[in-house]
Symmetry: none
């Protein structure tokens, strides 16, 4: 079973948009055991599009097109498929009615295009937008058209295309992966610890990926059921855990944020934040987690010194003598947040995010963090990059790491230790 | 002059890597006035690769391949080009010597592959890695092979391929774009307002793109200098502004956040935030802007009702009677934040981000916002989607929209109006 992907849109062809849809679909098809042999990008041009579709249908069993299903003149995927397959475009009554109900007064003449389908096509509903998708039969092969916006495309694939493919082609084996997340160890050090396993091991396969501030190890095998796959993966995972388990913080979709959130919920602990340079990012990342109100009280975005003094009780003399970016300031911020919110734990962050504001003693990228608890205050220091957004993200992530260390009862690594004199 | 791009690599085909090289090259070629009509991705397979190269050479004047130039068995781009063009692979003495000097002891048998070139090819040096690039003549057309790692590919394009193309094809003109950002108007409505222009207008060209909560219009023309390009673009821009200028909030890299930040700085106004369901996202987005400390004081992440009452002074009876997601609550939050921070303006947000917590009267996606100023309090209401992260982002963006409306002296649109009784 092999598939090809065609991404439609001049904005991709001109490089104005990076094509993430193709990568996402390729991964999903690999999971099903469908080989993707070719991906193409074609602009909003009817001749070239229908030509590319015809060529793909000569090679592939499954063709998936994304994009070009909007209401405007340069949305041409419907027309391209119809031309390539010599089908007429006809109005689908149910789809027209659905559009009219959804759009009401806002319905314009050009929206009517979105009620058209190539003769014989099955409509795939799109709860997230006005562009429906299509499945078009082509002599035992199938052509799918999905909308371009990733969230609409992904939902339509999951809800309609994947079950359709599994049913139609009896796709019984699946690719199963188990991802292990490591923190506090570098990629080379981790590879050195596991090198003999990685060289010996063919199935499940092992692959290391360096992510921002952490390392991911992916164990992959193909099997008919998850149970059979896990019977392959679990013994290998155990060997790995025996060697480097102290750095293993989670599995699969886990992040440092979800893992620490779960630990807080399990232990009935509450958290507040006091953010300076991250400007609310840490709170934002914790509140991305559904149910975060079970442990997250909220906090302060103490961006100005006035906010730090008036609402978190940071003494003016500390700000004057040690500066806003100092161990003493973050210690006072975390203690102030803990006491003003009544939370069990409070995390504070203050640093030089950049690009301006750096000095010789406090360079861009220097960031302090503190964690206040009933046992006292933990301090954490790191120097990141020259890049403002990366510095903010790394600092937020390190805060979750600091919380994880505290909840695991582990010490702050020597390289990150700070004292009140810093 | 038209070009095609082929990205080589099974890791892209499987979706393990998102292909950013194609977008980068497409932008650079567009700047030179070279049309890219097709981008393809092919895996590490000699037959399929040479077939795709042959097909591209039937259509394009310029073919650029990226990736597959490493030393290992599955690096097949050299072989694929040689096979497609019926050329032999021969060793390049100078390249072999360069490799031996660079690698010394680390030189392995398979590195010798990297000294091979298709007969007649010009070697393009790579100071950043062991893979050289190639320019291969093909009956007046040219095939380029560039390494896969983006930094090596980009440097090689800039230093060797671009000057080569400019010289060979006498490319003197450049593509210039002006992007207009619209808010408060849908894609169909905007297109309807501009349809006659869009149909008539060929140069500068006009293209509409729907982005999250806003619409982008791109005006593009080709010229020898930026001045000549703007002489083409400006009169068209003026016609557009005359029709829909009330929805035009910015140009090019502007966002609602940067535009409102600039207005605040210019008028010497300060801003604080009181965020419930967005959990710090609004503060985070404003503090992504370098220099935001010039207008942003900070604020409160008032996630729990206790935070809303104790630190923002929201009366308990409002929370009891109207709920945390209500016009009265956001009004009190914004007034509380304004007075406690001493800022000129304060924005508050409270809503049901989802996926849980919705009810019949307060469904998932319902979000209230308020803006407190010395003139009083503006209210804003919208219902978004079922998706938690999207709801948070849309709400943060609408807050910047509310601020923009206020700073422009424009009313809240009828569809978004709320009263204290909601």
């Amino acid at each position: 079973m092999n598939a090809e992907l065609i991404s439609v849109g001049t904005e991709i062809l001109l490089g104005q948009i990076v094509n993430t849809n193709a990568a996402w679909l390729a991964q999903r098809l690999a999971e099903l055991g469908v080989n993707v042999y070719r991906q193409e990008t074609i602009g909003d041009n009817l001749e070239r599009l229908s030509m590319a579709i015809r060529e793909s249908l000569d090679r592939a069993d499954i063709l998936i097109l994304t994009g070009g299903l909007g209401p405007t003149d340069d949305d041409l995927t419907r027309e391209g498929v119809a031309m390539a397959m010599s089908l007429s475009l006809e109005e689908d009554g149910a789809q027209r009615q659905w559009l009219e109900e959804r759009l009401g007064q806002r319905m314009t003449e050009n929206n009517l295009k979105q009620a058209l389908k190539p003769a014989g096509a099955i409509i795939l509903p799109n709860p997230g937008g006005t562009a429906c998708g299509y499945a078009v039969p082509a002599d035992g092969r199938w052509v799918f058209m999905l909308p371009g916006p990733p969230w609409e495309m992904e939902a339509m694939y999951r809800d309609h295309v994947r079950p359709f493919l599994q049913r139609t082609y009896a796709l019984n084996t699946h690719l199963y992966s188990r991802i292990l997340h490591f923190i506090g160890i570098g990629e080379s050090a981790l590879e050195t610890e596991l090198l003999d396993l990685m060289r010996r091991q063919k199935d499940p396969s092992m692959a290391l990926y360096a992510k921002t501030g952490e390392i991911e190890l992916r164990l992959t095998t193909r099997a008919e059921t998850e149970e059979l796959a896990m019977a392959q993966i679990t013994p290998l995972e155990e060997q790995i855990r025996n060697r480097v388990g102290q750095h293993l913080y989670g599995y699969d979709d886990d992040t440092l944020f979800t893992v620490t959130a779960k630990m807080l919920l399990e232990r009935g602990l509450t958290l507040s934040v006091a953010e300076s340079c991250t400007g609310g990012l840490l709170g934002n990342l914790y509140t991305d987690i559904p149910g975060s109100s079970g442990f997250f009280c909220g906090g302060w975005i103490a961006y100005s010194n006035e906010m730090k003094m008036q609402h978190l009780g940071v003494p003016a003399e500390i700000l004057e003598r040690y500066g806003a970016v100092s161990a003493r300031t973050v210690a006072a911020m975390s203690q102030g947040a803990r006491s003003a919110s009544g939370s069990d734990l409070a995390i504070s962050i203050s640093g030089v995010a950049g690009p301006g504001g750096g000095s010789e003693s406090k360079p861009v990228g220097l960031i302090y963090q503190a964690l206040a608890s009933q046992e006292g205050t933990l301090l954490f220091r790191n120097t990141y990059s020259q890049d403002r957004l990366r510095n903010k993200f790394r600092a937020a992530k390190q805060s979750a790491y600091l919380l994880w260390l505290y909840l695991q009862g582990l010490p702050v690594p020597a390289a990150n230790q700070a004292t009140l004199e810093n």
